[in-house]
Symmetry: C2
Subunit: 325 residues, 2 copies
């Protein structure tokens, strides 16, 4: 690959001059500018961003740590994050932690070594303290780490309320909530909290099941749900804390000959693109994924540029009523 020196030599000038035309800085005669352009053209020169990054101590790189891009919700989130990052000249390094503590740590180290300008954390397997002294531009999804670190979340409590309320209003007598693991202090837990409070308030029987800790194996969903239906065959309403979980539920219901929504009503969370394609189309709580992604990128950039930013970024959710309720 040709370097700036090659261009300089070919154009009969020094690297300084080439650099100048490259960055449009200072005065340059049209003549030399043309010569330089020509040389660049001829050599098919492309400035080495690595060298640039080293010099300016900015990589224009954002690290994104999530459980996995292959999960529809995170895939969509990652898609939008990359989209908005690209708009302002940032690149995205993806890291799939698979909810493995060791990998998550490794990735954080790796991203820092690579001097990314900021890290967007959508995976949280570590304890809060471990993130605290990260000392890096960072933004968090669904987790409050400290007073300084900004976070993004949907209105989890509100979403939980909307979902639970809908089930109750539709006449469910015994409702269940299926959720990811609740031990980690994630803001998503507020969905469960709302579920509990509301069912108690209305005097409705309720049950909660959760996945194991730090395991990203969606196959366990099936066992969990079958188990639930076996122990509580009289459940007639379910609030799943993700659309993927809801999909599992719908399917198991299909095999168990439970009609949806006649026998069991179900509402999901996220509103991934495929949710509207489920059969029957899924009633769910919509998170504004695109806006949240955009916000994440902005929060990183603001920190990089040392501009002021909001610490709490809670986005409104919306009940999308389709045919599973």
């Amino acid at each position: 690959m040709p370097t700036i020196k090659d261009v300089a030599r070919l154009a009969g000038v020094t690297v300084t001059t080439v650099s100048r035309v490259l960055n449009n800085r200072g005065y340059i005669s049209d003549a030399t500018r043309q010569k330089v352009y020509q040389a660049m053209e001829e050599l098919n020169y492309q400035p080495n961003e690595i060298a640039r990054s080293l010099h300016r101590r900015k990589s224009k790189l954002i690290g994104l740590i999530i459980p996995t891009v292959s999960h529809p919700f995170f895939g969509e989130l990652a898609g939008f994050i990359e989209y908005y990052a690209h708009l302002i000249g940032y690149k995205v390094l993806i890291c799939n932690s698979l909810l493995d503590r060791k990998k998550e740590k490794e990735y954080i180290e790796m991203l820092k070594s690579n001097r990314v300008d900021g890290i967007i954390m959508g995976s949280h397997t570590l304890e809060v303290e471990e993130y605290m002294n990260l000392n890096y531009p960072i933004v968090t999804f669904d987790r409050r780490i400290s007073e300084e670190i900004p976070y993004i979340s949907s209105d989890n409590y509100g979403g939980g309320k909307l979902a639970t309320h809908l089930l109750i209003q539709k006449g469910c007598k015994k409702i269940a909530h299926i959720s990811g693991n609740l031990q980690l202090q994630l803001l998503a837990n507020k969905r469960s909290q709302a579920f509990i409070e509301l069912s108690k308030e209305h005097g409705i029987e309720s049950v909660i099941v959760e996945t194991e800790l730090n395991v990203f194996d969606i196959t366990q969903y099936e066992a969990m749900i079958r188990n639930l239906l076996e122990k509580h065959p009289d459940i007639d309403g379910v609030f799943a804390s993700s659309d993927v979980m809801a999909a599992y539920f719908i399917q198991i219901g299909y095999f168990l000959n439970r009609r949806i929504p006649e026998d069991i009503k179900i509402v999901g969370y996220d509103d991934i693109k495929l949710a509207s394609l489920f059969v029957p189309p899924l009633t769910t709580i919509r998170q504004p994924i695109e806006e949240m992604a955009k916000c994440a990128v902005e929060l990183i950039v603001r920190q990089v540029n040392e501009e002021p930013f909001e610490r709490e970024n809670v986005f409104p959710v919306e009940l999308i009523e389709r045919l599973t309720t």
Copy 2:
């Protein structure tokens, strides 16, 4: 951030020595080694990978260009690619072209400027020639560019045959194929080719519809399918060239009160994770996504290391018969 100099100063040695213990090269007394380690610890030193990349002229970065990670198939592919890349110390830069020619070009330039070690191309909006003189370690999904560039694909023709054959064997009298755009010379077109040949061979009435060129807007799927069913209400079998398309079909069938599989049988392609969760669970042609991803990473690494590699990497497919046929 502390640099190697800070470490050297604190440890009372020179940067050379620090670099040596860092890279385990040459002889070093245990005493100094310990001092250095201590200093690194104390400063929380992390070597600057940007500087390293600049020096060794290898970035350990792989660029991945796909239509979008938010599409389940590409999300899964990206997940596996990152997984295997990570295993051998490579990082992945994602680029969502959205099947936009301009973006795709931009991304290629960007990746070259960032001196990624190789590019995995899963998006193809440009003409073959434009990729030819890329002069870069590259591997392609589902497209044959030139004699030198390795490509990966599933056995598209075989898959098309399996799918079509199943429909015929199940007694379908008029079958349809819905597909992405067929103008680009993608290997995936062989699915259609097999569909055409087989239906002709068996004397079965058939029709093909495709999406528009260079548009990544899955909302057009719906119009396309509705249109198809309006024009050809007597269709009783469908081969969709992706599971997502199949999902659209299933849903539209649901709304139109066409029973699946009784009235219309449908088979998809890819076997994304959610395919088994559709209602009814989708019969589909499974691509070995994980193996293909692994292969892509290997092909890049082999090129980087100037090791020999296969140019043609066609993976076998498998018919996964579930309940839509």
